[in-house]
Symmetry: C2
Subunit: 334 residues, 2 copies
């Protein structure tokens, strides 16, 4: 166990997608928990697309990470010391512990206790914000019914891989878009997709039109941009568009332009909703229970891409946006 | 009563907003109803922004009006002869009777019987698609709760004038955008708006920011374009955007561009829905009852702008899009 606390600090505001140079590493003494707080030893640091937004100074749903402070991140860890009521030493927990070896936090930073019968790391992905996002965004906003065509972008990513399987488990017909051929294969063979295409090399618009001639009922969008614009024009009447990410947009400053879309919303009577998982905390327990149940029954496959050592963290968001990961991206620091 | 049937025909496909030259007038013998149909004598022809879409050949929620056929329109008329079960001669009816003096239609062309205690012409507006749109789009898609800020574009139009009053009757706080100062006054004095601004001459974005510092909860959009883009950036978290029209867009071919909006949808967790009133037929009776009740109680003011004679029809859509009407635009042909 390290005798000091290595921390990945946000050294400057990223211009768009956070780069390794936007971070610095420092080392401090292992902090002592004060009254009402707990000391967590991190084991798996989570790497998430949402960290880009948290690092940005632009208006957002979350307060920006303070410059010079540890990078905001979710992690799985173990409670080493507790000075807070209701938190026991030795518990495994998932929460807002940051990119660092140790964190002193209040109990409210704990998103959940890692009690379900899944591998410990899966609490950061399958039962963490990726799984919660996939399940809640699809069921609450996408609302597929049996037989619906569900188009998903970044279908091979940590969220998309689960959306495909959840849609299939609900009786819908998931169609996946992803950026390389290996992920196309994974989508088809492992992630429940009825069809999947490499959007870089395939005329996927034509393929979707053939495969879903009555239109797409649910578009689960993680990328925005030109793929979104095309997908909107393949929607069925009364289709639902779930805006879960905008990964294809390299920078929002200056504001990029695109084709106007309000006529599609109107004439197709779409419902286009934005999703931020922490609006849905009351559904977390139910979602975790369903996901863990499917996992136990073998109805949900879950892949991880685990790097070793905190020094991997500064380049991890960039690599994530480049689609280099195979499965949920984690950094093992335990 | 005219001895012949004058009809306004769609002579060519409009390029954008229908112009007088896109129509022709002809005259035919008064048609005879066949079995299962009725002969309606039109009294008030309705002029509606949606007619632009109906006249267009572009993909839409409705089949395009056939070239050379009578212009699709709603109207209030009286049944002169009935060869259909359940329709009585002498009944006043509102429905799909077209821009013509007489129509032979099946009973399914009748949207409703004009039985509520309102002036006959009000069946084409207050209790017709304008009122139904205002009431159902606001309550089903906008869903304001007491105290919500409800921003409305074309606030002085046939729909907007009702949206303001309905929002006020529901305890919300309507804020209106309109294109001339006379309508600003009407919005404030007659149409229930807490505030209204001339978007051509006022920095309405700054006014909205002052008036609704916590953001706009519902944006009821009839115009699209730059006003929509600005309004999206004034929305409160979890705000609802109702896409009811796109009147500010002169042409969709070529497809106009604008700033990308998916980040606003995501970070503000908006719900942006398209509204077409005829998706909501099961709610029509309830909506008419509520609107007629408010009208009787003096809680709903209703203005009309009635032109005389069918020769006014070909220029009427253009005038509507130019905002020249004061109240619901009708053409009296009875």
């Amino acid at each position: 166990m390290p005798a000091s606390n290595r921390r990945i600090l946000l050294a400057r505001r990223p211009a768009g997608i956070p780069q390794p140079e936007d971070f610095a590493i420092d080392e401090e003494a292992v902090p002592e928990p004060g009254p009402g707080t707990v000391l967590v030893r991190n084991i798996y640091l989570s790497v998430d697309p949402a960290q880009r937004g948290w690092a940005s100074a632009e208006a957002n749903y979350a307060q920006p990470v303070p410059l010079g402070g540890p990078m905001r991140a979710l992690a799985v860890g173990r409670v080493l010391r507790s000075r807070a009521e209701g938190v026991q030493e030795g518990e495994f927990v998932y929460g807002w512990f940051g990119w660092q070896d140790y964190a002193v936090v209040e109990p409210k930073a704990i998103v959940h206790r890692a009690t379900e019968p899944v591998p410990l790391s899966a609490h950061a992905g399958l039962l963490g914000i990726n799984g919660l996002t996939a399940y809640i965004a699809l069921t609450a906003l996408g609302r597929p019914v049996a037989g619906d065509s569900v188009l998903v972008s970044t279908a091979g990513g940590a969220v998309g891989a689960l959306v495909g399987q959840i849609a299939r488990n609900l009786g819908a017909r998931p169609l996946g878009l992803t950026g390389d051929d290996a992920k196309v294969d994974l989508c088809r063979s492992r992630y429940g997709y009825a069809e999947a295409w490499n959007y870089r090399t395939t005329d996927w618009d034509a393929r979707v039109a053939e495969t879903a001639p009555d239109g797409v009922n649910v578009y689960f969008d993680n990328v925005g941009g030109a793929i979104l614009d095309t997908a909107l024009r393949r929607m069925a009447a009364a289709g639902r568009v779930v805006q879960c990410g905008t990964a294809s947009i390299a920078s929002w400053n200056p504001l990029p332009s695109g084709p106007r879309n309000e006529r599609e919303i109107l004439t197709r009577r779409l419902v286009w909703s934005g999703f931020v998982v922490f609006d849905h905390v009351p559904r977390f327990a139910e979602a975790r229970q369903t996901l863990a149940g499917w996992y136990e029954e073998g109805r949900l496959t879950y892949d991880e891409d685990i790097a070793e050592g905190i020094a991997q963290a500064p380049g991890a968001i960039k690599a994530l946006y480049a689609g280099e990961n195979r499965g949920k991206k984690l950094i093992y620091v335990g």
